[in-house]
């Protein structure tokens, strides 16, 4: 049954992974990290990506057509945030839990070696198993 560290190590097995972390999008805290961070600072990266994740999670414009307020907030209406830049990809995957948690997985992929579509599917799977076992 995977914990935070096992889940992060699994992301490192994806082709092109530079680094990954589990981040709280309200406080900006990195609960766990593996590999490298852009600029070398995991904590600063977590705080910055948390801001981005929070805007996405709270945005009514980015919510499903039914609106963000339809279900319980245990199920995140927004699932992923994907950023592409000239040399890498950033994937943020929200983690749904029954209890109060506001976390996402952040995967940083090398653009030449990484496969964005595959990584997105695998990251969703890793996020599910982190909580469900």
């Amino acid at each position: 049954m995977p914990g935070i560290d096992e889940s992060l190590l699994e992301t490192m097995r994806l082709p092109g992974t530079r680094g990954a972390s589990v981040v709280d999008w309200i406080s900006g805290l990195a609960l766990g990290t593996v590999g490298e961070a852009p600029g070398g600072d995991m904590e600063a990266t977590a705080a910055e990506t948390a801001e981005l994740a929070r805007f996405a999670a709270e945005s009514s414009a980015l919510a499903p057509a039914g609106g963000a307020g339809t279900g319980t907030d245990k199920e995140q209406p927004v699932q992923d945030v994907i950023i592409t830049n000239t040399d890498s990809y950033h994937l943020l995957r929200f983690v749904s839990t029954d209890f109060d948690s506001t976390v996402f997985l952040h995967l940083w992929l090398d653009r030449d070696e990484g496969n964005l579509a595959l990584a997105r599917i695998r990251l969703a799977d890793i996020a599910d198993r982190l909580v469900l076992g």
Binding site: P2, G3, L29, A68, G69, F99
Partner: protein, 258 residues
């Protein structure tokens, strides 16, 4: 049991000194207790924040019977957390996420406001057992960062401790789900801690939403003696007298006394 060398001027300085000594034990301060194992933080609790049992059972993530079974069978051996996972009630990841949430939440209040340490009980361990140890420096740094984050959102700290009231006629449409649920609990009587307990949410995360609501002109500290803004919303200070929480706390105290 009290060791004077562990006690410094502030709780943060005490934790630093205890970490340098790779100490094991419980440091209590005015607002809660931090448990260390080999110089790492393994648990923290505060009367101002919901504990792990409250977060898990109130949300429905774990049935109260399941929580009690683990406490009954593994409390004395300090292996309650392990038992929750081994019995298949909770995944290891879910336990770590929820426990770290509770740990950093309680630690924030223990370390906030320049909290002063009272005593260090060397060798004391929490009945939950070890889940995911965190370096002391990480906890101290995170607590300071959280303080700054609240200040940036809305620099009036009375929101954190006062009974809170809704601003009459303030438009509250289109709020994010979390913020809206918290606003619904603001009744002129409850404090942030009581709202967090009622919802089974971490208190710091509730403070963030309440400060955003205050910044948006939707919530203010209740005027002393003012009647509740929402008549019929019910049970003032429900969090204080909640039987589940009271029972959990009594049980914890009894286990710690063993």
């Amino acid at each position: 049991m009290t060791t004077a060398p562990g006690i410094q001027d502030t709780t943060a300085a005490s934790l630093d000194a205890l970490a340098a000594d790779a100490a094991t034990g419980a440091l209590s301060s005015e607002r809660g207790i931090v448990y260390l194992s080999a110089g790492h933080v393994v648990h923290a609790e505060s009367a101002l924040t919901p504990d792990l049992g409250t977060l898990l059972t109130r949300s429905g993530a774990l049935a109260p019977d399941g929580w009690w079974e683990a406490v009954d069978h593994a409390g004395v051996q300090h292996r309650v957390a392990r038992r929750l996972v081994d019995s298949g009630r909770l995944s290891a990841g879910a336990l770590e996420l929820c426990h770290l949430g509770a740990l950093f939440d309680a630690a924030y209040f223990v370390l906030a406001h320049g909290g002063r340490p009272r005593r260090f009980r060397a060798g004391a361990a929490h009945w939950l057992g070890t889940v995911r140890p965190v370096p002391v420096a990480t906890v101290v740094r995170e607590s300071a960062r959280r303080r700054e984050l609240l200040h940036r959102i809305w620099p009036e700290p009375d929101i954190d401790t006062a009974p809170l009231a809704r601003v009459p006629d303030a438009g509250a449409t289109g709020l994010p789900v979390r913020r809206s649920r918290i606003l619904d609990q603001v009744d002129g009587v409850r404090t942030a801690t009581e709202i967090a307990a009622a919802l089974g949410c971490r208190t710091y995360h509730t403070l963030v939403e309440l400060r955003r609501l205050a910044a948006g002109g939707l919530v203010v500290p209740a005027a002393p003696g003012a009647p509740p803004a929402k008549a019929g919303s019910g049970r003032p200070a429900a969090a204080q007298v909640d039987p589940d929480t009271a029972l959990l706390r009594r049980l914890r105290d009894a286990l710690e006394a063993l």
